[in-house]
C-alpha cells in the first residue's frame, strides 16, 4: 500500500515505493497476456480520464488499465484554453467531484494542474502529463521496460535525447532513474535544454556522438513541433543529422544497448525506419508495460497491497 494519495510528482516517491509499483505491474502484466484479461479488483470504482489536451495513446492506456481492473472508466475531454472563457479547471474539478469518482487522471498543458485538482476533489489524482513538468506513469513504464531488459538500474547509463526543455517525460524519468541508481544524461541542442539540467539530477551533453558509445539506453524524445515556439531548431534535417538514430549510430552503440521512445515516433526524424524497426527498439514493450504500470498505480492508490493480487 502506498503512503501517497496521489501520483503527481515522481520525486515524492521513495525507491521502495517505486519498486512496489513495478513489482505490482509485473503481476498485472501476466494477466495482460491471458486470453481473459479482466480482474474484478476495482469493480464498482469510477475512474475519470480528464484529458484537457489531445492524447490518444495515454488516454487509451489508462482506459484499458481501468477496464482490465473492472473499474468504470469515463473519458472527459475538454480544452485547457476553454478555461479562459468558460469554466475554470477548479469548477470542472468540483463538478466531477460531485459525481464521486475514485480516481481522476488528468492531462493538461498547464504545469501544476494536477495539484490544483487535489484542492477541489476528494479523488486520487494521477498526473497523466502536466505541460513541460512531469509524466510519472510514463517514467514508471520506462523504468519497468529497462528493468525487464537489464534486470536492474545500478550504474546503467541512460541517454535522454532531444527536446529536454519541453519534456515532461524527462521531467519524471531523470529523477526516477537517478533515484534507482542509474546515471541519466540529457542530450540535445542548447536551445532545447532546461537552464539547470543538473537540478533534475542529470549530466548533460550537446552532442550525441560524444556519449553514444557509453550508453546502455538511448531514450529518444519526440520532437514536438507544436511546442517549439521561436523555431529553436534550424531544421528537422539538421536535427536528424545531429541527433537522429540511424544505422550508423546504431553501429556506434554498445552491443546490448537498447532504444526507447515514448511515442508517437516521427520516422526519419528521431529514428530512421531501420532503427525504429530494429530489435534494439523496445518501443512496443514500453507501450505494453504502460497498461500494467497504470493498473498497478490505480490499484495501489486505492489501497491495494502488492502481494494481495488474486486472479
Amino acid at each position: 500500500m502506498l503512503k501517497h494519495s496521489h501520483l503527481i510528482d515522481i520525486t515524492e516517491y521513495s525507491p521502495e515505493e517505486i519498486y512496489e509499483i513495478l513489482d505490482t505491474a509485473k503481476s498485472f502484466s501476466e494477466v495482460n497476456s491471458r486470453s481473459i484479461k479482466k480482474l474484478p479488483t476495482l469493480r464498482g470504482r469510477t475512474v475519470i480520464n480528464l484529458f484537457l489536451e489531445p492524447s490518444t495513446r495515454t488516454r487509451t492506456s489508462f482506459e484499458i488499465a481501468g477496464k482490465r481492473l473492472s473499474a468504470d472508466v469515463i473519458n472527459f475531454s475538454a480544452s485547457s484554453s476553454s478555461t479562459k472563457k468558460g469554466e475554470s479547471l477548479a469548477d470542472t474539478a468540483e463538478t466531477l467531484a460531485a459525481m464521486n469518482c475514485d480516481i481522476c487522471i488528468v492531462r493538461s498543458k498547464m504545469e501544476g494542474a494536477p495539484w490544483l485538482l487535489t484542492r477541489h476533489m476528494n479523488s486520487h489524482i494521477i498526473n497523466g502529463g502536466d505541460g513541460c513538468h512531469q509524466h510519472p506513469t510514463q517514467a514508471l513504464l520506462d523504468a519497468y521496460t529497462i528493468r525487464e531488459q537489464f534486470g536492474g538500474f545500478e550504474g546503467l547509463k541512460v541517454g535522454i535525447v532531444g527536446d529536454v526543455a519541453h519534456s515532461r517525460v524527462a521531467g519524471s524519468l531523470v529523477p526516477l532513474l537517478k533515484m534507482l541508481g542509474a546515471e541519466p544524461v540529457v542530450i540535445g541542442p542548447a536551445t532545447l535544454m532546461p537552464s539547470c539540467p543538473d537540478l533534475l539530477g542529470a549530466n548533460h551533453s550537446y552532442l550525441l556522438d560524444d556519449v553514444l558509445p557509453d550508453l546502455d539506453v538511448v531514450y529518444m524524445l519526440r520532437i514536438q513541433m507544436e511546442r517549439l515556439e521561436g523555431q529553436p531548431l534550424p531544421s528537422l534535417r539538421e536535427y536528424s543529422m545531429l541527433y537522429g538514430i540511424d544505422m550508423k549510430r546504431l553501429g556506434m552503440m554498445k552491443p546490448d544497448a537498447i532504444i526507447m521512445h515514448p511515442g508517437p515516433i516521427n520516422r526519419g526524424v528521431e529514428l530512421s525506419a531501420e532503427a525504429a524497426d530494429s530489435p534494439r527498439a523496445k518501443i512496443l514493450d514500453q507501450v505494453n508495460a504502460g497498461v500494467a504500470v497504470r493498473m498497478a498505480a490505480m490499484y495501489l492508490l486505492l489501497g491495494g497491497e502488492s502481494d494481495g493480487i488474486t486472479a
Binding site: S80, G131, H133, R168, P194, S195, L199
Partner: protein, 433 residues
C-alpha cells in the same frame, strides 16, 4: 482643533529628530514639537507612548484597477488598504480599462479619490503612450495640468527604443519622471517564473534576468541622452542594482525601487506541490542570492525606495493554473510589517533609513511635499507599533484583493495610526473613511 501626538519616539532624518517628544499639530501643520510644550485649551491628545512617529509613508507604485476592473480594487478600497498598511500617499499606475492616458482620466481618479485631510493622498501616474500600446505619445501636458505626477506604461516595457526616447524627451519638458517597467518582450517570451532553477524544477516557461537587465541598460542610455529622470520600477536582480549604481555614479538621472516580495521571497518559495499563483509575479521572484543582494542594496543606499506594486486580483482569477493566473500580489498592507520584521527589528536597517526609503525618496520622486516633524511641517504621519506580532490573514485585508504572497506569515510591527494633513486616516488600526 489642535492635535497633540504625545510620547512617541519621533524619527525624522530631514529634521534631525530621533527622540521621544510631543508634536502639536493644527490645520495640517506642525505648530511645535519637543517636550513641555505650551498647549492650547481646545486639544485632542493622542497618547503614542511606546510607538514610533514617522514622516508619512508613500508608495509610488500601486494598482487600483479603477476604472474598468473594480471587482479587483477601486480607488476607495485601494485608499483604505493604503491607510491600513500605514501609507499616507499612493501613486496608482495607468493600466486600467481604459488606460489613464488623458487629462480627463487623471481628473476622474482625483475626483473619485475626493481628497480631504484624513484620506489617503492619490497621486495619479499617467500613461506614456496611448492605451499603453507603445505606439503614440499620450497627452502628457494635459495630464500634468490635471494633476499627473509621473508617467509610466507599467505592466509593459516600451519595446521600441525610439518611442521610449520620445517619451523621455517629452516628459522632461514637464519635469516629471518616467517610470520604467523593464521587460524586453522578445527575450522574456511567455515566461512566468525565473529562468533557472524555478523554470527547470517546475517545468514552467522561464523569464530570464537578462530580459529585465537589457532594458534597464537601454533606458539608462536614453536617460543619459535625454536628461529625463528615469525611475526603474521593481528591479529584481543583483546585476540590475549594479547597472543602476554605475549609472548614478556617472551622473545619469536615475532612481530605482524594489518591492517587498522581491526582498523577502525568492524563486525557491514556489512550491512544486502547490504552484501557488500568489507567487506569480512580473518580474518574477529571482534567486536567493538576488534577494539577499536586494536587501543589502536597500539598506546600503543603492536602491532608493520601496514600492509595493500592490496588484490586487479577484480570488477566482488567481485560482487558475499557474500559466493562466494573472501576475501580482497585494502589498500595501504587508510592506511595513515585512520591512520591520526582516530589516528594522533585526538591526539591518535603521529607522532613519526606513523613513528615507518609505517616505522621503518616494515623495521626492513624485514631487509630493515632504512630511516633516518640525515646525511648519506637513503633518502626514505614520505611527508604528514596533512590538505587535500579527498573522497575515486573508480576512483582515482592507483591500478587495486577497491575493497576498505572504498569507500565513507571522510579522512583527505594523501601523496603528496614520495622519494626512493632521487628521487620522487610520486610528488604532481602524480605517476612518
Amino acid at each position: 482643533m489642535a492635535l497633540l501626538l504625545k510620547g512617541a519616539h519621533v524619527v525624522d532624518p530631514r529634521a534631525s529628530v530621533d527622540e521621544v517628544c510631543d508634536v502639536l499639530v493644527r490645520d495640517g501643520r506642525v505648530v511645535a514639537c519637543g517636550t513641555n510644550l505650551e498647549l492650547p485649551e481646545k486639544l485632542v491628545v493622542k497618547d503614542l507612548s511606546g510607538k514610533y512617529l514617522l514622516p508619512g509613508m508613500a508608495d509610488v507604485h500601486v494598482h487600483f484597477r479603477d476604472p474598468g476592473l473594480e471587482h479587483k480594487e477601486d480607488i476607495l478600497s485601494g485608499m483604505r488598504a493604503a491607510a491600513k498598511g500605514g501609507y499616507t500617499a499612493v501613486a496608482p499606475m495607468a493600466n486600467t480599462k481604459p488606460a489613464i492616458d488623458s487629462g480627463s482620466m487623471i481628473s476622474y481618479e482625483l475626483e473619485k479619490a475626493a481628497w480631504e485631510p484624513g484620506r489617503t493622498r492619490v497621486c495619479p501616474v499617467g500613461a506614456c503612450t496611448m492605451g499603453l500600446k507603445g505606439e503614440v505619445l499620450a497627452e502628457m501636458g494635459d495630464m500634468v495640468a490635471a494633476g499627473a505626477v509621473a508617467f509610466s506604461d507599467d505592466g509593459h516595457g516600451i519595446q521600441n527604443g525610439g518611442m521610449m526616447r520620445r517619451v523621455m524627451d517629452y516628459a522632461k519638458m514637464f519635469n516629471k519622471p518616467v517610470m520604467s517597467h523593464c521587460q524586453m518582450e522578445d527575450i522574456v517570451g511567455h515566461g512566468v517564473v525565473n529562468e533557472g532553477a524555478a523554470s527547470t524544477r517546475l517545468g514552467l516557461a522561464g523569464w530570464p534576468a537578462a530580459g529585465e537587465e537589457t532594458q534597464i541598460e537601454r533606458d539608462i542610455e536614453l536617460a543619459r541622452l535625454t536628461g529625463c529622470h528615469l525611475h526603474i520600477q521593481h528591479l529584481t536582480t543583483a546585476r540590475a542594482v549594479e547597472i543602476v549604481a554605475r549609472a548614478k555614479e556617472e551622473g545619469v538621472p536615475v532612481t530605482c525601487e524594489v518591492t517587498p516580495h522581491h526582498l523577502f521571497l525568492c524563486e525557491d518559495d514556489i512550491d512544486a506541490r502547490t504552484y501557488d499563483t500568489n507567487l506569480k509575479m512580473n518580474p518574477p521572484l529571482r534567486t536567493h542570492d538576488d534577494m539577499m543582494a536586494l536587501r543589502d542594496a536597500l539598506c546600503e543606499g543603492l536602491i532608493d525606495m520601496v514600492s509595493t506594486d500592490h496588484a490586487p486580483h479577484a480570488a477566482h482569477e488567481k485560482a487558475l493554473e499557474f500559466n493562466l493566473a494573472p501576475f501580482g500580489t497585494t502589498g500595501l498592507e504587508t510592506a511595513l510589517g515585512l520591512l520591520m520584521t526582516h530589516l528594522v527589528l533585526p538591526g539591518k536597517m535603521s529607522w532613519q533609513r526606513l523613513v528615507q526609503v518609505t517616505s522621503i525618496a518616494p515623495r521626492e520622486l513624485i514631487g509630493l511635499e515632504q512630511a516633516s516633524i518640525s515646525e511648519g511641517g506637513l503633518a502626514d504621519y505614520t505611527v508604528v507599533d514596533p512590538d505587535v506580532c500579527w498573522d497575515v490573514r486573508v480576512d483582515d485585508f482592507a483591500s478587495k484583493g486577497k491575493n497576498s504572497a505572504f498569507i500565513g506569515q507571522k510579522l512583527t510591527g505594523r501601523a496603528t495610526d496614520v495622519y494626512t494633513a493632521g487628521y487620522a486616516s487610520l486610528e488604532d488600526g481602524v480605517v476612518t473613511f
